[in-house]
């Protein structure tokens, strides 16, 4: 032990696991002092914003979906809302509800994947969910069934789990009838109970004593927990229309990463995602989710990023509840999508992907071709904040053996459910002791 206190070490993970996409983490320690942290994204650049140019606006939702296989619906939603604003399209209220239901499916699927398969093994000391299943088969089976129910919503509405095909500018190519949606009810009732039980299980995990004074950023809507609509707000006074996003946020290109860092122009790093949404929108959660949060000991604001696993479970409770509410009140719209006039225009939109706010802006010409596209994924926005967490967290761990420091640092990164494929436009872990 005395070894690790006085020597310098480099802790290094060359390929960070249980995150989507490829990245490395580099942490340099001198005694108990952290001297360098770099989150390296080496996922190859895929250049989406460049090849969206010259494509017809109707192709944008399908192309943008390919940025991420884990949260394609988020990309489709931000794309269609931005384009609808550019072209002045108003969607049917029933279509708006269906888009919320579609997002519920993605949140349930993505949160179940992260809570059970990617994050829980860290807390219970397993390298992955498959090893975990040897001792905790019930837990893994619950996770898989929840995930499957999220995917059922997506498949029913979009034809398949990954890169669904139904989303169109103005609405959907096809909308389900009431009876089709009602087939989801029994599964969703089970999922609501299972997610409530999950929240209680994960709330019992051991959480490191670690809190940071974050600036949380999320969409906020007066009546609803946010998916597709709302103002962009923070706990430090930010309260803007999404059209003003680029006046307040700036992207920085740093040498060690193929992803751009996004910062608040006047204050620097910030956090998006479940913790931010929960802290800024607790009042809009239904009573069942608020009650679950209270039982789990979650108070607003929650500043411990390791507790994000509990918040994801509470958001899963919300998503199941919301999905049930929608299928109970749904009436099929007269037409699956609105007419879309073709003219030049510029439009921007932000929606809440499972891992945080996703911003798109498009400029469209008079033929309907995209002239310019800008996409800011949630992981780009969290990247600087993840590095800052590690500056503080790795220092607390300095007296611990290298293997333990490494695993805990990885876990601290996974708190954010980073999606590296998205951010490349990300993780190997390397902790160096000097």
């Amino acid at each position: 032990m005395s070894d690790t206190v006085h020597k310098s070490r480099t802790i290094q993970v060359d390929c960070l696991a249980r995150v989507e996409g490829e990245g490395a983490l580099f942490v340099k320690l001198k005694g108990d002092r952290v001297t360098d942290v770099k989150l390296k994204i080496f996922e190859p650049p895929r250049l989406f914003e460049a090849f969206l140019r010259g494509r017809h606006f109707s192709e944008a939702p399908d192309i943008a979906a390919r940025i991420c296989g884990i949260c394609p619906i988020a990309y489709q939603m931000s794309a269609v809302h931005a384009i609808e604003r550019a072209l002045g399209v108003r969607v049917d209220p029933a279509v708006r509800l269906l888009r919320r239901l579609f997002y519920c499916g993605e949140w349930i699927e993505s949160h179940a994947l992260h809570v059970f398969m990617l994050h829980a093994p860290d807390f219970l000391g397993y390298p992955d969910a498959i090893q975990m299943a040897r001792d905790r088969r019930d837990l893994v089976e619950t996770g898989l069934r929840l995930k499957k129910i999220g995917n059922r919503i997506v498949t029913l509405m979009g034809g398949r789990e990954i890169h669904p095909v139904s989303v169109a500018v103005g609405g959907f190519y096809r909308v389900p009838c009431e009876a089709e949606l009602r087939t989801l009810a029994e599964d969703l009732k089970w999922a609501l109970d299972a997610s409530l039980a999950t929240a209680r299980v994960v709330a019992g995990f051991d959480f490191p004593d670690f809190e940071q004074d974050y600036e949380f950023v999320a969409l906020s809507h007066p009546e609803e927990y946010p998916f597709n609509e709302g103002r962009l707000v923070s706990n430090r006074g930010l309260d803007i229309n999404v059209t003003e996003y680029e006046d307040h946020f700036v992207e920085q290109h740093v040498k060690h990463s193929n992803a751009l860092h996004s910062l608040i122009r006047v204050r620097g790093s910030y956090m998006v995602g479940p913790l931010a949404r929960f802290n800024l929108n607790f009042a809009q959660l239904p009573e069942v989710a608020q009650q679950a949060a209270r039982e789990c000991g979650l108070a607003v604001p929650c500043r411990n990023p390791f507790r994000s696993i509990v918040v994801r479970a509470v958001e899963t409770v919300f998503a199941c509840w919301e999905a049930l509410r929608i299928i109970n009140t749904y009436e099929r719209p007269a037409r699956p999508r609105a007419d879309v006039p073709v003219h030049a225009g510029i439009g921007s939109a932000a929606t809440e992907a499972p891992r945080g706010t996703l911003y798109h802006r498009y400029s469209i010409d008079e033929q309907g071709l995209i002239r310019f596209a800008k996409i800011v994924p949630p992981t780009s926005q969290n990247q600087k904040r993840i590095e800052e967490d590690l500056w503080h967290f790795a220092g607390q761990l300095a007296s611990r053996p290298t293997d333990e420091v490494t695993w805990k640092c990885e876990q601290a990164v996974r708190n954010y459910d980073p999606c590296i494929s998205c951010a490349t436009h990300f993780l190997r872990l390397q902790v160096e002791r000097e």
Binding site: C15, L16, A17, R18, E20, E22, F42, E43, P44, P45, R46, L47, F48, E49, A50, F51, R53, R55, H56, E59, D62, I63, R66, I67, C68, G69, I70, P72, L113, M117, P127, D128, A129, I130, A133, R137, V140, L144, R145, K147, K148, N151, G159, R160, E161, I162, H163, V165, S166, Y173, R174, E251, Q252, H253, V254, K255, L260, E410, S421, H425
Partner: protein, 262 residues
């Protein structure tokens, strides 16, 4: 070892330039995941596990296309470690959506996306795995069909040929009982030239197939191009239709180039 006392085959999952969707298909096979994990040793799968066992592997599943010098070298190492190499998805089998750079100025693309282009190193072309190393089986689709992946792993372990279609989307569409969207509604549909496997979902959702499974075995793209013209599509629209998620597959590449010839 499994319950029969035999050594379980080792599987490795490797990622190159991609969206992660195809390897996620393995985790999305919720009903089959634990039984599959019982029958094989998932030795290397960073998206799912921090335990990364060294090769060699009996089966290597490769997702993504080659777009950097580093990846062009890495695929050689991966090939040497895998007895059988299977590529999964449109990126690995055809270069993927990122192959849209192949007919364009990639340096200009990098300047559009990144403020400091000199920090970025990328190849001029996004290429499928088979352009770099011998591949034992290609599973198409953007994304792949998860039941095909389970069938492919099962067949490979049993030493038989996998039951994966090579005919066109039209056959699946007929079997589904759809009224032809191209004939009935005059919608431009790539179904006649696209490999089956998705279950003809786009026509079932009232839209034309957009070719995400890539070209079928012997596609008559010239005839379809004519049909698109009859439906009133401009050459630019037709070229864009072939320049999707399988733009670098040679049959689609040729078809799009022919539309743009003066």
């Amino acid at each position: 070892m499994n319950s029969n006392g035999r050594v379980k085959p080792k599987i490795g999952v490797f990622k190159f330039a991609s969206c992660d969707g195809c390897q996620l298909s393995l985790l999305d096979a919720e009903d089959e995941l634990l039984p599959v994990a019982g029958a094989v040793d998932i030795a290397y799968f960073p998206e799912a596990s921090r335990a990364m066992l060294k090769g060699p592997y009996d089966i290597g599943l490769v997702e993504g296309s080659i777009t950097t010098h580093h990846d062009a070298e890495r695929i050689q190492q991966v090939r040497r470690q895998c007895r059988m190499l299977i590529t999964i998805g449109a990126c690995a089998t055809a270069g993927g959506i990122q192959a849209l750079r192949n007919s364009q100025d990639v340096d200009e693309f990098v300047r559009v996306v990144y403020a400091t282009p000199q920090y970025i190193t990328t190849l001029k072309l996004s290429t499928p795995i088979a352009e770099h190393v011998p591949v034992d089986f290609e599973l198409r689709g953007c994304p792949i069909n998860k039941s095909h992946l389970v069938e492919l792993i099962t067949a490979t372990l049993a030493g038989r040929k996998p039951n994966i279609p090579t005919y066109s989307v039209c056959l699946e569409c007929k079997r589904r009982g759809n009224v032809c969207i191209a004939v009935g509604q005059g919608v431009a549909c790539l179904g006649p030239v696209t490999e089956a496997g998705c279950g003809a979902i786009c026509p079932s959702f009232n839209r034309g197939c957009y070719g995400c499974y890539g070209p079928m075995e012997s596609p008559n793209t010239a005839s379809l191009t004519n049909q698109f013209r009859i439906l009133g599509q401009s050459d630019e629209q037709i070229a864009r239709a072939f320049r999707g998620f399988n733009a670098w597959a040679w049959q689609f590449r040729k078809a799009s180039e022919e539309c743009q010839r003066p």
